[in-house]
Amino acid sequence: MSRAVTPRRKLINTTIAWAIGLLIFFPILWTILTSFKTEGQAIASPPIFLNFDWTLENYAVVMERSNYMRFLWNSIIIAGGSTILGLIIAVPAAWSMAFVPSKRTKDILLWMLSTKMLPAVGVLYPIYLLFIELGLLDSRTGLVIVMMLINLPIIVWMLYTYFREIPGEILEAARMDGAALRQEVLYILTPMAIPGIASTMLLNFILAWNEAFWTLNLTAAKAAPLTAFIASYSSPEGLFYAKLSAASTMAIAPILILGWFSQKQLVRGLTFGAVK
């Protein structure tokens, strides 16, 4: 499939592409490097790239000062909880829309997507008020519910596009062979649906992890996840570059790695199957 080109042209392509790739990645690389410097070296002029005294001290300080583990734990609970809850609600819905489509299926799907476009700031105060009334303000439960609701349309859509690709004939063939419904679901459908469900979980986890409107506005001390942990470094004390970098690295590392594995699903998920 790949087109044949002269080695010279391939070399030129490679050079340009790597240069641009590194340029785009540079802010992240620079943050990671700075996190291993001392504060003095972090603001040294001219800047030091690699020949500094590598140290883990910043990580120790950040851990000690701001109780990183609690923020991390909140992020994991909020992203993970909303993903699981979302799947429990979305799998049956997407399943029935894919296998028992009706005239209104398309309208329901589009309507779901349209709820995603409701500007968050337009409903901030009502949600804030409801959260106070229900005692959900600054609680992980409250954020799990909100994250689940804002991502539910994407989960349903993604699962729907995956499920629709499972051929109905396989089911009929299995039925002819006398498979019971339980066997049908367990041995035929589930294995075929698992890759789609896994990708959906991954993308949803990433979106919830990085969400920075509701997580900043609905939490204070108890339930604040990593987005708020980092925002606390926007005060002047954030001028400690090495510590800011260590904190940033700790906030993005888990999701960066997950994200690299799921880049293909990202296209599919965020374009609702329109580009494959």
Binding site: R3, N13, T14, A17, W18, I20, G21, I24, F25, W30, T31, P46, P47, I89, P92, A93, S96, M97, F99, V100, S102, I108, M112, T115, K116, P119, A120, V121, G122, V123, L124, Y125, P126, L130, L152, P153, V156, N210, F213, L216, T227, I230, A231, S234, G238, L239, L244, S245, A251, I252, L258, G259, W260, Q263, L266, T271, F272, A274, V275, K276
Partner: protein, 288 residues
Amino acid sequence: MATKASRSAARIMIAPAVILLLGWMLVPLIMTLWFSFRTYLPLRGGDQGWTGFDNYVRFVSSSSFWPSIMTTLTIVVSVLVITVVLGILLAMLLDQPMWGQGVVRILVIAPFFVMPTVSALVWKNMFMDPTNGLFAHLWRFFGADPISWMSDAAMPSIIMIVSWQWLPFATLILLTAIQSLDGEQLEASEMDGAPLLKRFYYIILPHLGRAITIVILIQTIFLLAVFAEILVTTGGAFGTRTLSYLIFQRVLESQNIGLGSAGGVYAIILANIVAIFLMRIVGKNLDN
């Protein structure tokens, strides 16, 4: 295949998702509408009754309203232009045969996974700080005076940060679309000696049409709601107050719920105008 029983089972399976989303949409929306017609100042006397369309008129006639609309549109349009143009170029480059293509793709996609608060703070402090930022070092190296990015060039700075975050998304989608292009057609035109520009204009661009539309529409939805990047950098100062941010300030900082809610209704209307276009296109795609 679908029997009556399976139809009603299907309905039951869809119900929880529909009911939840309906509640999530309608309850806050109705509350926002209700507040927008009332004088409501939680810290100064609470709910003081009906005011008709006063909040709507006041929100629009405030001196910050039109600038905030302009700021919002400037951010959305600039980021769209930058990410789509660079995204097409980058996607075409990444589609070329090269060594280590997978690694380059991983490097290019990385910014998308960085949470907005982190990318804004890293850019603001480590790159754009007028004394210790990398840009300041670079400027001094070339004998120029460092720029106070966040105060003197606040809008370009925000546009740059947001573009950096969204360029990967545009590139990835456009690359996926380019890769589905018929290689033989391109090769044939290459053999016929069609110049690069012509090949781009007549073969590649038309093929990318749908992907570009999707990129524009999806990004618009997210860009209209840009928030954390402004909160941790300028806090809405230096001409970076978007409509979302203005409403946020009215609601949380000045605690004027009625006025903020009227602003929220405007934001919802603006988003809906955009949404209608998106629905049309995605809906069309569903028919195929």
